[in-house]
């Protein structure tokens, strides 16, 4: 497994749990009809910052442990795989923007709109990492 792949796995495994925990809790609240009341921009920001810090610490630790194995600078094959991930991620982000516009048009509250934007961003970023990992695993 290349250094780049290890970094991506680390970012994925460290990044998923906090966001999965928060958004599954929000989803469950929405399912039982108390979702909007339970949503808070402050809590969302705390989860985003906390998740990013956890991810950053994990990536730094793993990169220090494997620092002799390579670099995150992509070669041409990795760059092509990375571009594919960014393209798919971009389309997801655009979809999130359209949903956000729809939510604003429907007059949904700011707290819901902020959650939609954050969710779209996280899904787009995780998709980029998964697509890149898939490309690196199969070789192209």
């Amino acid at each position: 497994m290349s250094f780049r792949e290890k970094m991506l796995w680390t970012a994925l495994l460290a990044g998923i749990p906090p966001f999965l925990w928060y958004f599954s809790a929000v989803g469950l609240s929405l399912a039982v009809g108390t979702g909007v009341e339970s949503m808070s921009i402050g809590r969302l920001v705390a989860v985003l910052i906390g998740g990013l810090i956890i991810m950053l610490i994990a990536v730094v630790v793993v990169s220090l442990l494997h620092r002799r194995e390579g670099t995150m600078v992509p070669d041409e094959r990795e760059h092509r795989i990375e571009s594919r991930g960014i393209t798919i991620s971009y389309h997801l982000l655009c979809t999130g923007v359209l949903i956000t516009i729809g939510a604003a048009w429907l007059g949904w509250s700011a707290v819901v709109i902020v959650h939609i934007v954050a969710f779209a961003f996280i899904i787009a970023e995780l998709t980029r990492v998964v697509v890149e990992l898939h490309g690196l695993r199969r070789g192209y």
């Binding site: 390579g70 041409e76 094959r77 070789g139």
Partner: protein, 77 residues
């Protein structure tokens, strides 16, 4: 993705060059070991620059390292 429409003799040339590893070749060419492995297996078509660099490492002309598959060429026409 279809396999690359050309074959290569990189594995043989590495063996003949003192059992050079994929990692060593990757270091000389400026790509990762995994990229050399993908090129060898025909999963990834390298850029012209990397193809020339690989040929240069072995001191061979490009056509002795990479060979166009005639049958696939015909299929494209």
């Amino acid at each position: 993705m279809a396999r690359a429409p050309f074959s290569n003799d990189i594995k043989t040339l590495r063996f003949l060059a003192g059992e050079m590893t994929q990692g060593d070749l990757g270091d000389e060419v400026g790509v990762t070991r995994q990229t050399i492995a993908a090129i060898e297996q025909g999963k990834y078509s390298p850029s012209l620059e990397v193809a020339f660099r690989i040929a240069h490492v072995f001191g061979k002309p490009l056509e002795e390292v990479f060979r166009w598959q005639v049958d696939q060429d015909d299929a494209l026409l």
